[in-house]
Amino acid sequence: MIGLSSYLVLAALVFSIGLFGVLTRRNAVGILLGIELMLNAVNINLVAFARYNGDLIGVIFTLFTISITVAEVAVGLAIVIAIFRVRRTVEADRLDLLRG
């Protein structure tokens, strides 16, 4: 029986997988891919709730989230490219200038 919980569990799984990607990927772009997956999962959550509660708030929220995510990806990749220009690497392990 497909219910709300099915969608929520699916979203949770995708979220965890995205988190795994953020934690383990070496390349900065790879980390950004993980973030994309997490945001995706959030969207699934929102739309599922909207459908099962019967109002549109979730959907509109999702629209906004998608837009903002696009902007964030753009700026993030611009930063990655800028860093690459200076440091000649995008490996996350090497980017530790704020080390204590």
Binding site: Y7, F15, S16, T24, E36, L63
Partner: protein, 164 residues
């Protein structure tokens, strides 16, 4: 087994498989392609949840825009180095444990809370309602979103200019 049930399980399987592939494949380029697949699968989920408008938006922005940007970025960073960027993962076990724990936590919440699963009624087409909402109660938010996009554009431009 209704159509919805079958469709759900198929799309879910595709989504999960491609997500795993995104985070596990060593080749970054392949990872981006798998991400595209995952984003399309998500759009299919939206269809299952009776939001065709969102499906369209997802395909346009995500699967179209974001994937394109990322591919460009990979090509740029790859080209400057002159070789295919190898993608390897670090501390896989730690990450797996933490991610699994987070999932367990969320699932725990889900199991405890009484989520009624009455099949929702037939869904009306929401597109008109969405449009009305966007220029109605959410007009301010829409405008702010526009401001945000302009800011992002400016930021990206600034970074793109480099050291001139």
């Amino acid at each position: 087994m209704t159509v919805e049930t079958v469709g759900f399980w198929v799309v879910a399987a595709v989504l999960l498989a491609s997500s795993l592939a995104v985070v596990l494949t060593p080749n970054l380029f392949h990872a981006v392609l798998y991400l595209a697949a995952a984003l399309v699968a998500t759009g299919a989920i939206f269809l299952l949840l009776a939001q065709p408008f969102l499906f369209a938006v997802q395909l346009l922005l995500y699967a179209g825009g974001v994937v394109t940007i990322v591919v460009f970025a990979i090509m740029l960073t790859e080209r400057l180095v002159g070789q295919r960027i190898r993608q390897t993962s670090r501390h896989v076990v730690n990450g797996a444990i933490v991610a699994a724990a987070v999932f367990a936590g969320i699932a725990g919440f889900l199991l405890r809370s009484p989520l009624a699963t009455p099949p929702p009624g037939p869904a009306a087409d929401a597109t008109i309602a969405i449009g009305r909402a966007l220029v109605g109660p959410f007009a301010v938010t829409l405008e702010l979103l526009g401001v945000l996009l302009v800011t992002a554009l400016l930021g990206a431009l600034h970074f793109a200019r480099g050291e001139e």
